[in-house]
Amino acid sequence: MDDAIRLMGVRKTFGSKAAVEGLDLAIERGSLTGFIGPNGAGKTTTIRMIMAILFPDSGRIEVLGRKSAVESKDRIGYLPEERGVYKKMKVLAFLEHMAALKGVRGAGLRQKVFDWLARVELEGVHAKKCEELSKGMQQKVQFIASVIHEPELLILDEPFSGLDPVNMRLLRDLVMEQHKAGRTVIFSTHVMHTAEALCDHIVMISRGRKVLDAPLAQIEREHEAREIAFVPLDAGAGFEAVEGVEGVASVRRTERGGAALIREGESIAEVMGRVAGSMAMSRVEILRPSLEDLFIDIVKRQGEENVEQVRASIREAGGGALAGVGAEGGEA
């Protein structure tokens, strides 16, 4: 097996609380894996164990074929959730220091730092002190620190939290670029649609247990769409025509129009054509269950009482990032 990371029966408790419970995990080399779950699910603890910053109470961890990440730290890039910079240090000095700690030395280093700064649109900040940068800028500097030694494995813990859409896209492109260069990338997030947009593999954990571990394509296949959303051209029109369409089991009203549930065994493509033809429509589309719905579904089955709270925590980054710091902090 050529896995970048393997976890076997990993368990970690803090006091009486189990943060991670019997976790088995295998991350293929070259994959781009999203590690998702609500705040306090055990994402950061798992990542810290992978990085050998924390040690599991029981179970085994292999990273890049070695028994511990300590032995392959130069080949791993890590952007922790609890990330900081030396406030008084100049950006250039900070990045050179971090690179030197990861074994990058020599004459080319300084040029490399300048190149990277240019790529993240931070030209000319190298002489500034880290504390003079905005939080988003600091985050980009930290990202550079995690990739400057061209690691085989890149682990990013909540890399997009606190970024504006422009920088988020920039960082997302950089992550994709690392992935395309053949590197194994794992990133954790509690914002599902980020994961949905980027990853080819999803690992979902909740309350310290793995609840989902599959390629995104497979998840989409397994949780095939069974509903067609439509918006009639005439907003006031009734849905009788759609209800009468062959293959439609039932129709429910949604915020903007309706959603038709397809009968078992019917082809969604065929039914969709019939729905579109049944009345004048401004829009007809397949209603895919989002990762978010999926997650809520799984959590519900697990018997989580505060479903709404979980839903809120995984929907958007705003505020969630802050809450994340608090929750993870208490847990650690």
Partner: protein, 499 residues
């Protein structure tokens, strides 16, 4: 190893290559070094304003007033000053400031010891404490300075003892001078001489004396001037009253300063001076300073790394043990720089007084060895405290016991340097972490222990160092990522078990 050195390099650069450190470590001592002689010279050159005023005399003995008037003339004052300068020069040539002030008793005459406690505490043994010799040195400097002041201009005013109202005169001392009153008529002091000051009373063993009342906030050197004058005058009056020859009595009561020599295997040499007594203190303070500064910076940078959350970024590249080792090494270099600067200054000062041979290379070698050991012990403790807490404020309660280890020897310095080979001193010099301080004091004292003792202490401390590092590494690792409630000692011990 490269990573440890990289951490150490950053640690050193971020601490020692800052303006604050350079000013604190180089500029301030440098300025002091240059400025102190300058300030002394300036204050010595600066002349106090000339004092002008009246000294009222109520002479109940009826035999001393003329002598007092005579003693307060500018000529008499300047003659007395001349004598004193001569004495100071004589003592300075002998290189022993301490005995100058003791010898002064002889010069002042027989009655000095009973007259004024501040002037003539009987000489302590040459092995007396350094604090006293320091105080004496300051007094000497004060006197030298006083001698260069302008000679005061006193106008004597003899009052009839039968009619004079002592209380009214005292009142004049604190009242401000009236309109049109000239400066010279302003009353500075009132001298009241007892009736039996010159001739002993019937059946009395002691002579009477005099009282000196002066204005509030008067320069104490002027008071001394008047007091010395009156004292001299009464002495002269007594000689005359009993028909004694002053020169003969002077010769009779003066024993010239003895030569105090230490006899060693290599031969005779002048006895340990006050400066030599300060040597153990100097060595201890040097050790304390470098250890404290290094570990204090370590505490600050560790807390900063933790609170700015840069620590996990670092932990992605280095292990906690490497991080701690690097930081301890980096600050060790900072402490070493401090040791070098201040040790160098101290040695330079000794060399300037041609006393460099007081310090032996063996002592310096042990100083360095003890610095490395004590620093490592202290630094590993402070590093673990820094990792355990969230902010500097929380560190204080945990730092307390650590600082105690440094402060205990400081309090023990005096008894230690007096009796460096007492049983308790020997025992303490093997108990880490205070052992290096105690051993350093004993080694630089006048009676150093046998060489096996410091060597054994080094060995014991090296073992202790290992233990300290082991404990610290565990607390450090667990503590680094712990945020929240500040831990107490019990929590720290739990972490050690956990790690």
């Amino acid at each position: 190893m490269n990573r440890i050195l990289q951490i150490a390099k950053r640690e050193f650069m971020s601490t020692a290559m800052t303006k604050a450190f350079i000013i604190g470590a180089f500029v301030i001592p440098g300025v002091c070094f240059l400025a102190i002689p300058l300030i002394i010279r300036l204050t010595m050159a600066a002349e106090a304003p000339k004092v002008v005023g009246t000294v009222a005399i109520i002479d109940r003995s009826g035999a001393a007033a003329d002598g007092v008037i005579e003693s307060l003339t500018p000529e008499a004052i300047s003659a007395r000053r001349g004598d004193e300068v001569g004495r100071i020069q004589e003592a300075a040539l002998a290189g022993e400031g301490q005995e100058l002030l003791e010898g002064q008793d002889g010069g002042d005459g027989a009655g000095a010891g009973t007259e004024d406690a501040t002037d003539g505490v009987p000489g302590t043994s040459p092995g007396g404490d350094g604090a006293r010799s320091l105080q004496q040195a300051m007094r000497m400097a004060d006197r030298v300075q006083g001698l260069s002041d302008k000679i005061p201009e006193f106008t004597p005013l003899v009052l009839d003892p039968a009619s004079a109202d002592e209380e009214a005169q005292k009142q004049r001392l604190w009242e401000s001078p009236g309109e049109g009153e000239s400066a010279s008529s302003q009353l500075l002091a009132l001298v009241v001489i007892d009736a039996d000051a010159v001739r002993r009373g019937e059946g009395q063993e002691q002579f009477g004396t005099f009282s000196l009342f002066h204005r509030p906030r008067m320069d104490d050197r002027i008071v001394d001037e008047i007091r010395d004058g009156v004292r001299g005058a009464i002495r002269e009056a007594r000689y005359a009253a009993y028909g004694q020859d002053p020169a003969w009595l002077e010769a009779l009561t003066t024993v010239r300063r003895p030569a105090v020599r230490e006899v060693t295997q290599e031969g005779e040499r002048s006895s340990a001076s006050g400066l030599a007594m300060m040597l153990p203190l100097g060595f201890m303070i040097l050790l304390m300073l470098s250890v404290m500064i290094g570990s204090q910076y370590l505490l600050t940078t560790t807390i900063e790394e933790k609170s700015s959350r840069v620590v996990e970024v670092l932990l992605s590249a280095v292990s906690p043990m490497q991080l701690m080792t690097g930081k301890v090494l980096g600050q060790m270099l900072v402490g070493g720089v401090i040791l070098l600067i201040y040790g160098g200054l101290g040695f330079g000062a000794l060399a300037a007084f041609a006393l460099a041979d007081l310090v032996s290379p063996v002592q310096v070698a042990f100083l360095v060895a003890f610095f490395l050991l004590t620093y490592t012990m202290m630094a590993s403790m402070t590093a673990s405290v820094g990792a355990a807490v969230n902010e500097l404020r929380e560190a204080q309660s945990l730092q307390g016991p650590i600082m105690m280890a440094v402060m205990i020897p400081y309090f023990l310095w005096l008894p230690l340097s007096r009796d460096p080979n007492a049983v308790w001193a020997q025992v303490l010099s093997f108990v880490p972490p205070i052992s290096p301080f105690v051993m350093m004091i004993r080694m630089t004292s006048s009676d150093p222990p046998a060489m096996w003792q410091p060597l054994l202490a080094v060995a014991i401390n090296a073992v202790a160092c290992y233990g300290f590092l082991w404990f610290a590494a565990k607390v450090f690792r667990v503590g680094l990522l712990m945020y929240g409630k500040p831990p107490n000692l019990a929590t720290l011990i739990k972490w050690v078990r956990m790690a």
